[in-house]
Point group: D3
Chain length 243, copies 6
C-alpha cells in the first residue's frame, strides 16, 4: 500500500504551528507525509512586531515570516511546505489560486485535510480559507477536472483550533494526544519570533486540551495520562467497522 | 484484558431493533457482550395493531411485545436483555428507575452506550430517555455513589437514528457498515410483527445509509462497497492517537 | 363531515388573548369550535396591579382574573373556556394535570393546537407548558391510553407569539390576516384590565405583523393590504397536495 | 386570472429530477407552467460514468447530459427547460449570470421558486446556487431594475431535498404527496443513464417521505395513504387566511 | 483625551435612519462624532414610490434619495455623511470599495461600528454589507496596511435592527434608551418621504423596544420608564471592570 | 442608595471558586455584598480523592468539602456563604428547595446572579441548576408570592465558565479583568485540596482569558494589559444609556 499523506491549508504562515503543529509532528512520526500550504505569509496582518521596526518593507516582512515558517516546519518534520503568497488581510482566493490548490490536493491525495473554523468575525481570511478548502476538495473530486489525473477520494476535513474558540462557533469532536511530540511543537512555536506573546498562550491551550483528553478517555477512572493534546472539529461523518 | 461490552437504552421495546440492531449484531460478532435495557414495552403507545384486536388488555399487549423483543434480541445475538417495565406514553423515569439503571451501567461497564435523539416533539419518551441516560451515566461516574463499586469511566453515548431525523435535530457523525450482519437485522425486524408497516421503511433507511457510507469512504474514487449501514450521533468528543 | 375544532393551551389566563386572540376569533367566524384551556389564572405572577391594592387575597385575584378571561373569551367568541387552576409561578404540571389535559384533547379532537414558545428564560411556566402540550399530544395518540376512546390524529402545534420574540428563539413561519376580526381582538384585549400597560404594546405588534403579512404576500408588487396579523411557529411539517 | 407558474433553479442538469421531479410533474398536472433552469450540465463533477469511457471530451459529456435532462424534462411535462451552461465544479455565478437569471424570473413571474440547501460542504455549487437564487429574487423585486418591466412579488423559495440531508442542515417543513405522478418521476429518473447508482436511492427516499406524509397527516388515526412524497424547506413565512 | 467617535455602515441611504437614528442622535448629544457611510442610495431597490412616477431616471432617484438622507442626517446631528454610490440590488463591494472603507475606518477610529444583520434572505445587500464591515475592520487592524497610519483597535460591531427580526436570525443583547432624542429620530424618519409606509412601523418598533427596556431594567419592580428604545446585537464580547 | 449585592448559585461547593472566584473577590473589593449558595457539597460526584481514602463516609466528605469551601469563601472575601445540602449526582431540586432559594433571592435582591451553563452532557446537575435559577428568579418576581415582601427586579443571570466550554454550548459575551484580585483567587483555588489536579488548569484558563481581554480591548493597538480574566455569558439583554 502507498504512503499515507495529509494536507494542511494555513491562511497565514504561522497558523499551522499553533493550531496543528502537534498533529503534523505526530503523523510524520507515524509515517505520514504531511504537506503544508501557507496561502500567505500573514505579512500585513500578523506581523505587528516587525512593522514596529524602523525601515520595514513588505518584502522584508515576507522574507522573515517565510524563514520562521520554514524553521517551524523543519522542527515539526514537515515533508513539504509551500507558500502561495496570495496576500493577506484580505487573502485573494481567485480562480488561479483554486487551480493551484486543486493541483496540490490531487498530487498529495491526502488521507485527511486541515483548515480553519467556519466562522471567524475577527479574521475573515480564516473563514474564507475554509470555504476555499471545501470548494477545492470538491473540484479535486470531479472526474472531468483534468481528466486522466487521479481523482480525489473523500478525505476528512478537520477544522483546527481557532483563537477564542467560542466566538468562532468551533466545537472539537476529537482530541489527539500530542504528548509524544510536544517538544517538537514547543520548538516550532519558538521559531515564531515575531509572535512571542502567543507562545505561552498555546502552551496553556495544549495543557488544557490534555486535561480534556484525560477526562474523555476515562477521567479518574481509567483515563489516559495525556499531558498535551490538540482538538479538531470534523466536517464530514466517519465510516467505520466498529464503534 | 477483559471482555468488551456495550449498553443500549431503548425507551420502548422495539426501538433497539430499528435503530441499532445492526450495531448490536456486529459488535456481538466482534466479541462484545451487548446489554439491552427496554425501559417499557411501548405497550400503550406503539402497539396500535394489537389494540385494534378485540378483547385486548394491557397485560396481553406487554406479553406480546416482550415476546417480540426477546425474539429480536435472539436474532441479533444480544447477550442480555432486560425489561424495566416503567410504563410508556409517558415513561416514569423517577429516582428508583435511575438507581436501577445506574446499577446496570456499573455492572456492564460499557465501552459505549446508545440512546435516543436529544429532541423529539413527536415522542417525549425518546428525549427524556436521553436525559435519563446522561444523568445515570453521571451518577455511575460518582465515586461516592455506592462506594466500593467499580466506578464508570467515560463511555461514548451514541444517539441512534430516530424516525424523521431532520425533525429531531439529529445529525449522524459516524456510519457503521452493517452489511455483514444485515441478514440478522432483517430477521430481527421481522420479529416485530405488530409494526409490519415499518419493516420496509427501515430496510430503505439501511440501504440509503449504505449509500452515505460509500460516499463518505471515497465514493466513485475508492469508496467501500457497503450495502447497509447505520448512522449515529456522538455526544462526547473522541480521544485518539491518530486522526 | 364533522365540525372543525381547535385547542389553545394558555399557561396563564391572559396569554390566549394577547398571543392568539385574532386566530381564535377568525376561526370561530369560519365555523371552528375553539376550546381554550387556561392552566392557571396567572394569579401570582401576572397580576401585579391587583396585588398593589390593599387587602388583596389569592382568591380575590383568581376571581378577578377569571372574570377578565371569561369576558375576553366572550368577546372572541370562544366556544369553551376551561380553567385548570394548577397554580402559577411555577405551574404544577404533574400526572393528574396530564390526564386531565389528555381528556380534553381527546374530546376536542383539534385540527390544530396552540401553545407557547420552546424557550423562555423570563418565564419557565411558558416553556414547560409547551413540553406539557407535546407530552399530552403524544399520550392522546396512544391506542393503549383509555382504549376505546377516539385516538388523536396528528394536529399541528402552533407556538404563538411570546413577548420579546428574539429572546425566546421563536421564529414565525406563518402569518394570519386578522384584519376582519381586529375589533374583536381589541375588545378582548381591553377586558384585561389588570394589564393595561400591555394593550398598546400588542396593538403595535398586530400592526407590525400586518406589515410582515403585506411584505410576504407581495409587498408593493401585489401584496395583500392586511392591517393586522398574528404570527405562529409550526412544530411539525405540513402535508399538502399543492405548494 | 393568469396562469400559475413555478421556477426551478438546478445547479447541475440532474438535480431537478432527483429533488423535485414529483413537484414539477404534479404542478404541471395542476395547470402550472414550470420552468427549469440548469445552471450547468454537471459535466465535470457529476458525470463520472461518462468520463470513465475512452475518448470522452467535455463537449460530448455536455451533449449527453443535456440529452438526458431534456428527456427527463419531457417525462415530467416541464413547460420550459433552459441551460445556462455556466460551467460546474465550480459554477461561475457572475454579474452576467445574475442578469440572465433575473430576466427569466421576471418573465416567468413564479408563484414559487425552488433551489438547493443553504449549506453543503460536499458541494459548494449547491449552496452558492441558493445564495444566487436569493440575490436574483431580490434584484427582480427592485423597481429600478429595468424600469417598466413587471416587478416580482414575493414568491416562496423552497429548498429541495439534498443528498445526506442532516449534513446539509436541511429540515423539511412541508411534504408534498407525489403518489399520483410517481410513474412520471420514476420515468424521469431512468432518463439519467449516467447515474444509475442513484435510481434506487431516490426511490427509497420517495417511499420514506411517503411514510412521513402518512405520519404527519394522522398516522394510524386517519393519515392519508400516501405512497410517495417529496419534502421541502421554506425560506420565507407563509401568509394565510386560515391555519 | 481625544473625541469619541462612531461609524455607521448603511447598505442603502435610509437604513441608518430606521435602524439606529436614535443611537446616532443620542451619541451626538453625548459628544461623539458619528460618521455615516451609505454604500448606495437604495436607488433601484428601495425607491418604489419614486419609480412609479413618470419620467423617472436613475440619476433623479439618486439625487432625491441623497437629499432625503442628508436631511435626515441633519435632523439627527450626524457629524459626517458620505455616499459611496456603489450601486444597489446588488451592491458592488469589490477591492476598491474595501480600500475606501478602510480609509474611513482608519480616519474615524470609531469607538464602535454599526452594520446590518448577519443573515437576510430578503435582501442580500444587507448581509454582504456585514461581511464587508467585518473584512474592512480586519484590514484596518493590520499593521502592514498603509504602514505609518494609526492602526485600528478593537471596536465593537453592533448589528442594528433589521426588518422582520426573527427571519434574520437577529437577537438583540442590548437596548438603548432613546427617549431623550425621540423627537429627532421622528423628524429624521419623516425626511424619508419615499417610504412613508414605514414611518408608523418604526414608531411601533421604538415603542415596543421601550417596553423591552422597561422589562429588562426591572419591570414593575423598579424598571426605568423608557418610552422609546433601539436594540442591537453585539458581535464581539465586551471587556469590563465591573459586571 | 443601598448597598450593591450579587448572588452566586453553585451546584457543588467548589464551582464558585473555579468559575467566578475572581468576579466575587473583585466585586467585594468594589463594595458589593456577594452571597454564595452551594446547593450541594459535591460529596458524591466531585470528591474522588477523598473517597479513595480508607474509611471514608458521606458525612466526613461533606464536612471536608464544607471546610474547603468556607476557606475559599474567606479567601475571596465572600459576605455570606450558605449550604443547601440538597445532595448531588443528582441534585434534588424540588419545591422546598425552590422556596428556600426564592427566599434568599428576595432577601439579597441581587444586582446580578450567576449560575452554570445551559447545557452540560457530562454533568446534568449543572444544567438543572441553571433551570432552577431561572425558575426561582421568576418566582421571586411574582407579586403574589409572599405578598408584602420586596419583589425582585430584573437582575442579569450570568452563566460562568464551564469545563470544556465548547461541549457545553457556552459562549462568553463579557470578559472581566480580575488581575487586581488574582492573588485572592489563586489562594481560594489552593483551598480546594481535594481537586489539586484542577489548580493549574484554571490558572491556564485565567491567563488565556486575560489574552482574550487584551485582544477585545484593542490588542496590539491599545488593548489593556490584562493578565487574568474571567468570561461570562449573559442570558438577558442589557439596558443602557450609552453604547
Amino acid at each position: 500500500m502507498s504512503k499515507k499523506t495529509a494536507l494542511v491549508i494555513s491562511a497565514h504562515s504561522a497558523d499551522f504551528v499553533w493550531r496543528c503543529g502537534g498533529a503534523i509532528a505526530l503523523h510524520e512520526e507515524r509515517g505520514y507525509d504531511v504537506t503544508v500550504v501557507c496561502l500567505s505569509y500573514g505579512e500585513r496582518g500578523e506581523s505587528a512586531k516587525l512593522w514596529k521596526q524602523a525601515g520595514m518593507t513588505l518584502e522584508k516582512v515576507k522574507a522573515e515570516r517565510r524563514k520562521e515558517a520554514e524553521n517551524a516546519a523543519k522542527a515539526l518534520g514537515v515533508t513539504d511546505i509551500q507558500f502561495f503568497d496570495l496576500g493577506d488581510y484580505p487573502l485573494a482566493l481567485g480562480a488561479e489560486a483554486k487551480e493551484r490548490m486543486v493541483d496540490v490536493i490531487r498530487k498529495v491525495q491526502p488521507a485527511f485535510m486541515m483548515s480553519h473554523s467556519k466562522w471567524d468575525p475577527y479574521n475573515t481570511d480564516h473563514m474564507y480559507t475554509t470555504q476555499f478548502a471545501l470548494e477545492c476538495r470538491m473540484i479535486a473530486q470531479a472526474w472531468g477536472h483534468n481528466p486522466g489525473e487521479k481523482v480525489l477520494g473523500a478525505p476528512q476535513l478537520y477544522l483546527f483550533e481557532p483563537h477564542q474558540t467560542e466566538q468562532m462557533e468551533w466545537k472539537p469532536d476529537v482530541f489527539l494526544d500530542i504528548t509524544p511530540v510536544w517538544e517538537k511543537k514547543w520548538a516550532a512555536i519558538q521559531c515564531m519570533e515575531g509572535q512571542e506573546h502567543l507562545w505561552h498562550y498555546y502552551e496553556n491551550v495544549a495543557q488544557n486540551r490534555g486535561n480534556h483528553f484525560r477526562r474523555n478517555s476515562g477521567g479518574q477512572a481509567g483515563g489516559r495520562d495525556c499531558r498535551y493534546a490538540e482538538g479538531f472539529q470534523s466536517i464530514f461523518p466517519r465510516t467505520v467497522d466498529e464503534l
